[in-house]
């Protein structure tokens, strides 16, 4: 059943994807009107799917790789909705919708069995670790999307011939604010998530192995994140430089994610 709901959700996210693709070439009133309701519905089904998965497996952990992709997609959508409620703009959807669709698609096309985690793990800490880290990922992702939009809007303003396509983007400062706020909001989550992770690792292995690729890359990602927040806060970096940094942090995050496949201590249950 979780898979079925996930596929229904995928269908609704498809509307969002369509909106994002169409918005690249022209503005469609109909699509921009239904994109948010459709993806919200998608979130409802998505939530049902996630909670059923947890109930079925009987554990709070979502360690199967497909589940984690699904959870990440959900968190990103949640962040998008918050931004939408605050700023009333669907523009970040041009980046968010395709990614969410892709993540959900991967999660919905197959499902490995749930393997139980090694007993004796502190499930409370583990759950906190996963939830916090994923919130951080989602925030980082949205910030990344916002900086892409910033670049697009900036170059359209600099070209002095603002095209029609992007005339619907929010103002430069609004995009900037969305990116900055997501970044700030995400950082404590990411930090606490890493702390929770190291508590779990300590409990399991007695020490934290800094040479393990997963640990190393996660720290690297955290450091890039820190630099980003610092330069934004201190020097007001934005535009191109901020976008490079956000891209860096995003790549680091993706690599840290991928490290799950090679790390000896931090593996997805089914991979």
């Amino acid at each position: 059943m979780p898979l079925l709901w996930l596929r229904v959700a995928l269908g609704f996210y498809g509307v969002g994807l369509l909106y994002a693709l169409v918005a690249l070439s022209r503005s469609s009133d109909l699509l921009s009107r239904i994109a948010v309701p459709a993806t919200s519905l998608g979130m409802v089904f998505h939530f049902v799917s996630l909670s059923e998965a947890v109930l079925l497996s009987g554990q709070l952990t979502l360690a199967s790789v497909h589940n984690s992709e699904s959870l990440l997609a959900f968190m990103i959508m949640a962040f998008f909705m918050i931004v939408y409620l605050v700023y009333r703009t669907t523009s970040p959807g041009m980046v968010v919708f395709p990614s969410v669709f892709l993540l959900t698609f991967v999660a919905a096309t197959g499902q490995q069995p749930f393997l139980s985690m090694s007993p004796g793990l502190r499930t409370g800490w583990l759950f906190a670790h996963i939830a916090l880290i994923f919130t951080g990922y989602a925030a980082l992702f949205l910030s990344f999307g916002a900086s892409l939009l910033y670049l697009v809007q900036e170059s359209s303003l600099k070209s002095k011939n603002p095209g029609r396509i992007f005339s619907r983007l929010p103002a430069l400062e609004v995009i900037d604010e969305i990116g900055y706020r997501s970044l700030l909001l995400g950082f404590p989550f990411m930090t606490l998530g890493l702390i929770a992770g190291s508590v779990v690792a300590q409990a399991k292995f007695g020490r934290v192995d800094f040479l393990d690729p997963k640990v190393f890359l996660s720290l690297l990602m955290w450091v890039v994140y820190l630099i980003m927040v610092y330069t934004r806060w201190n020097a007001g970096w934005r535009g191109r430089r901020a976008a490079y940094l956000a891209t860096g942090a995003f790549v680091a995050a993706v690599v840290a994610w991928a490290a799950n496949y090679v790390s000896t201590i931090h593996r997805f249950a089914a991979s």
């Binding site: 809007q153 900036e154 303003l157 600099k158 002095k160 011939n161 603002p162 929010p170 103002a171 430069l172 400062e173 609004v174 020097a235 007001g236 970096w237 934005r238 535009g239 191109r240 430089r241």
Partner: protein
């Protein structure tokens, strides 16, 4: 409907003529009343703005003469004005009213003020009772059409002056302009205008730097801003989010190194330079800095002409909307004309039917409910079948000029004259009653 419209506008008449015919606001109500009392005029309305003076009237039997009203009211020799006057009747008058309200006949295509002006003129004429059922219907529809044009086309959505383009761009950069600061370098007329626009859109404070300090002080005082000595320009300029330059300097006074300085002081918050000086005050290289946006007078002008072209394109779509609305409106008022006839025809036949049933009932004695129903259904069926074609013919004919003759024939055939007259009075009474209700 017997509609007539005459008037002058910015295309047909020079300003000397328009001002001769203009009616000031305080005399408008009285003028409307006089127009409505003019021989042959049933209802009338006057629209008088700086770009047009128009009289719109619904005439009794098409007999009125609006030119005579103009002549009497202004006591002028109409021969001098004849070549400036335009006149529209019926469908063309409807179209003209729609186009004016939708701002398609304006000097600046799509400018939004005209709709408000038409609404005011309508309210004035209505308050003195010069506008009633017929013109009311026309004007109410015109407002709806104007709204439709506004929402379905982009004819009024783009900025078409340098100052409004500047505001639009500033909004694209800063979003809300609330709390943004404007910095004027050089105190020319045009920068003053742009500053006024920006302040009207929410910018809060203003700085003025000028080579002659007195002029800066004068302008700063005008805007409740702060005058700056020109030597302090580079130390203070980063306080402006929007910088408008218009000095007569022979070389650029802002170069990239200044831009970098400003940016580092501003923690990279964006800056918008509007350079309306020729030769330019801002080195175009500045535009390459992250977070600095430079628009010179050509860039702004180019945006203006792009928007004007857009508006023209949109205006074509707007005209199509107007055309279909004119047709719809006309169909509606004409269909309305046949409705009283249809209703009295139906009433007439229903009376006959009831009378016949009563007669039969008297002969047959009391009927069972079943029989009652059967008789009723039978007679009703016959009446409806007979009525079907005439009613349909009337409805289709409503859109043709022959409707009047046809209505006349139907009335004579069924001897409906008297009832028709009654109905007309009744419907007129209920219409004006409904109208006054809507007014409250």
């Amino acid at each position: 409907m017997k509609l007539q419209l005459i008037g002058v506008n910015h295309n047909s008449a020079p300003v000397e003529v328009r001002e001769r015919l203009a009616i000031p606001e305080w005399r408008l109500a009285e003028a409307c009343r006089q127009l409505a009392e003019h021989p042959g005029v049933e209802e009338g309305m006057i629209l008088s703005t700086c770009n047009r003076v128009e009289l719109i009237a619904h005439l009794k039997n098409g007999s009125g003469d609006l030119r005579a009203f103009l002549r009497d009211y202004f006591q002028l020799d109409l021969n001098q004005f004849e070549r400036h006057l335009y006149e529209y009747r019926e469908q063309d008058a409807i179209r003209h009213v729609f186009r004016v309200a939708a701002s398609l006949d304006s000097m600046v295509l799509g400018e939004p003020q005209i709709l408000g002006q038409v609404k005011e003129a309508y309210a004035t004429a209505r308050a003195v009772g010069a506008v009633r059922a017929q013109l009311d219907q026309l004007l109410t529809r015109a407002f709806a059409v104007a709204k439709r044009v506004r929402t379905e086309t982009a004819v009024g959505s783009s900025a078409v002056s340098v100052a409004s383009v500047a505001v639009e761009l500033a909004k694209k950069i800063f979003g809300n302009l609330k709390g943004k600061q404007v910095y004027l370098v050089g105190a020319g007329k045009m920068s003053e205008l742009a500053a006024r626009h920006l302040l009207a859109h929410g910018c809060t404070s203003i700085f003025v730097a000028n080579r002659t300090y007195d002029r800066a002080a004068y302008l700063a005082e005008k805007f409740d801003g702060q005058a700056i000595h020109f030597e302090e320009l580079y130390e203070t300029c980063d306080r402006g989010d929007i910088v408008i330059t218009s000095t007569g300097a022979p070389h650029a006074i802002f170069r990239p190194e200044h831009g970098e300085l400003f940016l580092s002081r501003r923690k990279n918050r964006p800056m918008f330079f509007i350079d309306i000086a020729v030769p330019r005050d801002v080195d175009p290289e500045m535009n390459k800095l992250d977070g600095i946006f430079v628009y010179d007078i050509d860039d702004l002008q180019q945006a203006v002409s792009a928007h004007v072209a857009d508006r023209k394109k949109e205006a074509d779509r707007a005209e199509a909307i107007i055309n279909s609305e004119v047709e719809r409106f006309q169909a509606r008022i004409q269909t309305l004309d046949v409705v009283p006839t249809i209703v009295s025809l139906q009433d007439h036949l229903e009376t006959i039917r009831q009378a016949e049933i009563d007669r039969v009932r008297g002969r047959l004695g009391p009927l069972t409910p079943d029989q009652e129903m059967a008789v009723d259904a039978l007679t009703r069926g016959i009446v409806n079948k007979i009525m079907h074609t005439p009613i349909r013919t009337l409805k289709t004919a409503a859109r043709e000029p022959e409707a009047i003759t046809l209505i006349d024939q139907v009335r004579r055939l069924f001897n409906l004259q008297q009832e028709e007259g009654e109905r007309e009075r009744k419907s007129a009474a209920s219409k004006s009653g409904g109208g006054s209700g809507a007014r409250g």
